[in-house]
Chain length 354, copies 2
């Protein structure tokens, strides 16, 4: 792994379990939602259209860096952007998330999944990455790119929208495994293309969101989700940027997720980081895991909970390296931005190395 | 524990880890939703009104026994019935679940939580239990009563409806622990009163639903949910019927849940039963844990998954006792009833002892 053009940021170093000046911190869904400046910048148009405006997307990507003082920006985008860009028929409904007008149901729908060509289908993504990197040059703040892991993107494609049970996905994967593997192979290729384009444009780390993997039992994850996730990580390994694999409710899956080959395993708030370390082993950094719901409690509660995360991370890894502080899931829209800024300050102060 | 008046059913024996003729099976939410005869019986009125009709509730309780051949009926009711019966202002919306018009927000709301007196506030519950027991007499089918665990009932009272994040509950429990403990103490007393009335009317086992406990981190569960749950179980221990404690996404909490003192720990589909056994220890039976979403897949998939549950249960407990077969969560409304009947037959056939 090399980042020849620039000194490695703390974010990158933590991902690679190298010594850091202080524990880096960023927040999933830090761009958008909770920030008034985001709502002012965005206006009321469709969010998928907003992604197409590189200047706007770069601004929204940078807002949380200014507001919170985080160590990484994450691209303002969505895991369904590639599906949308190839014309699969995806929309993102405010307050609901991705919805698909004609969900994936049969092998006939494979024809709707043509290869994703980032430079042609979504050139605004690389353009946004470039704009953000120029703004962040020399700041020590890293830019994280991302994609959806095949299982989670497939769950939107098949369910047609958010689901609590994932019954249609599970019926398809178990009932027609061949079709499932064809589908996830295509989604893996799309994720690889998307991540490669982001990295080549300047993303210094990438996160693979397998947000809903926690709905799967371990044997199910191993058979139906892990292969395509590993294919995505394998498909970008030659580019040498750190990779983070994250899902919610994945306590039973952490060892399997680690076996997919990411540098960092993201952990939700349910599993203390020292316990996560036991499951993941020593070969991976850990990211997490303050409960985002706790950020709505009074500050002393948030401070105590943040310190508990740091203590568990220290217990997990005596060297004090290999931890990226984050929430255990995305920022809730009703979060007070001041609380998140205070969390960043606390993490930086309490982990500053001499 | 004694069930003097009647030979113990397989359900009761399995809960107590005593030898059974075959592994007993029932399904959470077996009464209602998926059954056409339920929809015909119920009509279109409010479900809370339906609970008030003992003859109708007894019929709905018995329908899945006839249709599926399960080893236990579970009372047709809802965990918010006591809250509703004391006039807290709860409704159950079709497809959404319990909603509260004026959610619990401050100490002033404690005054709205008067003690629950089952014989006065909800006499129809005991009446339904009596009707069902008469119908089941001599059948070998047990009747299970139930209540909501204080955390989960509190989550409805505070959030005002279903939640994905439980942010208001967490803000209250962490921000005002004293109020939280006053609230959950009252809800524990309501659950004790409700369960005692059901048991005295004839319920032969009871399940405590802490459905949403899995949203809590282990330390949070130990501090904020476990004490009131233990108080409920302690409050009915003298009545000597088996107790089952269940929640979803509770992999990290299983040992703590076991420490609350139930005879049986319910496990969702994410944790294989042999792994659950390692966490729970040898002193408890296990209930579960076929993924309800898989019941929408083709039958060979359901059969394989059911056999995998039985195999994990056998691996968990070499004696073949101490397992109550169930789903890992409630029956999905779109489930084909024929599939559930076939699951019961499979479990019975494959576990029949000479």
């Amino acid at each position: 792994v090399s980042q020849a053009a620039e000194v490695r940021t703390d974010l990158v170093r933590a991902c690679l379990r190298e010594p850091v000046s202080r524990t880096p911190v960023w927040f999933m869904r830090q761009a958008g939602r909770a920030l008034p400046e985001y709502r002012a910048t965005r206006g009321s148009g469709s969010i998928l259209s907003a992604f197409g405006d590189a200047a706007l997307s770069a601004e929204v990507t940078l807002q949380p860096v200014r507001r919170y003082g985080v160590d990484a920006a994450i691209l303002f985008s969505d895991i369904v952007v590639p599906l949308h860009a190839i014309g699969f028929g995806v929309d993102v409904e405010p307050g609901r998330g991705p919805v698909v007008a004609e969900p994936f149901r049969s092998s006939a729908d494979l024809a709707r999944l043509r290869p994703f060509e980032p430079a042609v289908d979504a050139p605004y993504v690389a353009e946004t990455v470039g704009l953000v990197r120029r703004e962040l040059a020399g700041s020590g703040v890293a830019l994280i790119g991302f994609a959806g892991a095949p299982f989670t993107v497939a769950s939107y494609a098949i369910e047609g929208g958010p689901s609590r049970t994932f019954a249609k996905v599970k019926a398809l994967m178990h009932g027609d495994p061949e079709l499932w593997f064809q589908l996830t192979e295509r989604l893996a290729a799309m994720a690889v293309a998307s991540l490669r384009a982001q990295i080549q444009a300047g993303a210094q780390a990438v996160q693979l969101f397998d947000s809903w993997a926690g709905s799967l039992a371990p044997a199910e994850y191993a058979r139906f989700a892990l292969p395509a996730t590993r294919a995505v990580l394998d498909g970008i390994a030659d580019l040498g940027v750190p990779t983070i694999l994250f899902g919610v409710g994945t306590g039973e899956l952490l060892a399997l997720m680690a076996s997919a080959g990411p540098d960092v395993v993201g952990v939700d708030w349910r599993v203390p980081l020292d316990e996560a370390r036991r499951r993941v082993g020593g070969g991976h950094a850990l990211q997490g895991n303050l409960d985002p719901a706790l950020c709505l409690a009074p500050w002393p509660v948030v401070a105590d909970a943040s310190r508990a995360v740091l203590a568990a991370a220290a217990a997990a890894d005596g060297t004090g390296t290999g931890h990226v502080f984050n929430l255990g899931h995305g920022v809730l829209p009703e979060t007070d931005p001041g609380i998140l800024a205070a969390v960043v300050e606390l993490v930086h102060n309490e982990t500053a190395r001499a």
